[in-house]
Symmetry: C2
Subunit: 328 residues, 2 copies
């Protein structure tokens, strides 16, 4: 199992990325303890650290990371946070993001993680490694902590600003599988995010998506949920267009930031710290691609590596592939 990490992505690169690698390798700060019931213990993954060697090496020494425990892949270029994604990815073939996708596409690595230019990561995910056959639109999701502590999944959170009903129907299946195999929720409850509970409510998109979801035998559809239910333990998977989802995701993140700035302390509020979840996986593509927040610190990087391990371990992309093949 090989995982590539863009060391140059994010506002605090490469220092926080290296710190994340150190946290991961040392097993510190893991949010979930090792599961003793698991029959197979995954081997330590090979970590490919992509970026400027001259910057990375001293940081490895500083963080006491054994040079033999990782592979540094030199990439002299960086795609800036505000560069045009498609253009930058095309022109900067030696950038850490471009090199990461080359490694992933060639099969040298099994997952790719970056907290860099989100647009470039999305373009790379969709064009370098391609959507799974039958998937109309890859999607990105986020964990929304429930009041019960359960990990709700919301998707799409911004990759698809405008959606068609069939897209939402596919997001429902992709989210349902993620919830089952990664969050460990058996037979997850899937809901359509809407402005009312009753069937027939909603904007044109939600009204048209409802019957598709209701007919979808691959998921356990429980109907509409409202905004008041997002933070409650009513559904495990919540489906919406990427415009709405993106606004909810960022509003949820701001709850943590604001309450912290006001010194309002509570375990429940701590759950809104996105660093706990690490990053946003792209779903519906053939290999795990995890996109981190620009302001990711070490903890977020370590959790992104752990998430990649989980996704590879669960063989999630292959399971999604075969499910979509069977539907057609």
């Amino acid at each position: 199992m090989n995982i590539a990490i863009d060391m140059m992505g994010g506002d605090f690169a490469p220092a926080e990325a290296v710190k994340g690698v150190q946290l991961f390798l040392s097993g510190q700060d893991a949010s979930t303890p090792p599961d003793p019931s698991r029959s197979s213990v995954s081997p330590v993954p090979g970590l490919f650290l992509i970026g400027d060697e001259a910057q990375i090496h001293p940081l490895l020494v500083q963080h006491e990371i054994d040079a033999k425990s990782v592979s540094v892949v030199h990439a002299p270029e960086v795609i800036g946070m505000n560069e045009h994604p498609t253009k930058a990815l095309k022109e900067k073939q030696q950038s850490s993001i471009a090199v990461g996708f080359q490694l992933l596409a060639s099969g040298k690595t099994d997952a790719f993680i970056s907290a860099g230019n989100t647009g470039a990561m999305l373009v790379g995910a969709v064009y370098s490694i391609k959507p799974l056959e039958g998937v109309l639109r890859p999607t990105i999701s986020t964990i929304i902590p429930k009041d019960s502590g359960a990990p709700g999944l919301l998707l799409d959170v911004g990759l698809n600003a405008d959606c068609k009903p069939e897209h939402l129907n596919q997001f429902a299946l992709l989210g349902s599988m993620y919830s089952q195999y990664i969050s460990g929720i058996e037979n997850p409850r899937v809901a359509l995010l809407n402005l009312g509970e009753e069937e027939g409510k909603g904007n044109l998109l939600a009204q048209a998506a409802y019957p598709l979801l209701k007919e979808n035998k691959e998921i356990r559809f429980i109907g509409n949920i409202e905004g008041r239910d997002i933070l409650k333990d009513k559904a495990d998977v919540m489906v919406c267009d990427g415009f709405t989802g993106n606004i909810i995701l960022k509003m949820a993140e701001s709850i943590y930031e604001i309450t912290r700035s006001k010194s309002i302390q509570h375990d429940y509020l701590d759950q809104f710290n996105f660093e706990n979840y690490g990053g946003t996986p792209v779903l519906g593509v053939s290999s795990p691609v995890i996109i981190g927040h620009g302001i990711s610190h070490g903890k977020a990087f370590a959790n992104m590596i752990r998430l990649a391990v989980k996704m590879i371990d669960a063989d999630l992309m292959k399971k999604m592939k075969s499910r979509f093949e069977n539907i057609r």
Copy 2:
């Protein structure tokens, strides 16, 4: 100044509505102290309490409300919370909501308040008292408390699930005027809620609305804001379609409910208690119509009456009317 209140609307009717009247008349529990700088002190409004006399009278006695200080208007019928709005409003001409709109349309009252069937209230607002000339779509807004304590205004929050760019552009002006004349914010900053800050970002609706807002000389447009900015003091008026707005409104309300259930106490969180704001005014129609939450208690009713007084005092509807006339 005459204000009509539907005593039969809401889950705790008529008891909590009567309690609200009592709170208002006694001046208890007012969230804002009287403003000494105001040159004209508004007279005590005439309150028209619409509903079943047999139920209302004993409650007036119980709450020690002088029967001479209010006018009870008997309405033997009630529109249930789950009845079909248009049908119920047509068939139940003697319902408290229908009678309320009759009083408003005839000019006998200057505002109408109800925590009853939201759909019936919206239908009544749009068809009994009509939109202002030039207003394409009436809208409903909500106060979203900012981290600074300032009252942000979000609209539309559910009346218009699907919107066109010109609708958002009109919501911007209606919201801007509400913010100025009711919230007392001079030259309010108006923003488009979007998934990114840069011009050109967004779904098709937001992309098309941006240039209209930018060109709109009637408002102070400051550009896009993201989900992370909703709870921050970045814009005074936040414009979006009613699907997105409804989900945000209900999610914001749930923050109060959840943190309260977990005994997380803080003044900041208390601001999310919708009862502080009372209800949602319909904007773009010729008279003040305020729609309350089904679970409104006395405090919410009292604040709705106060809001109606403020809207009448400010002559808001007339100001909106003349502004829209001048634009054309």
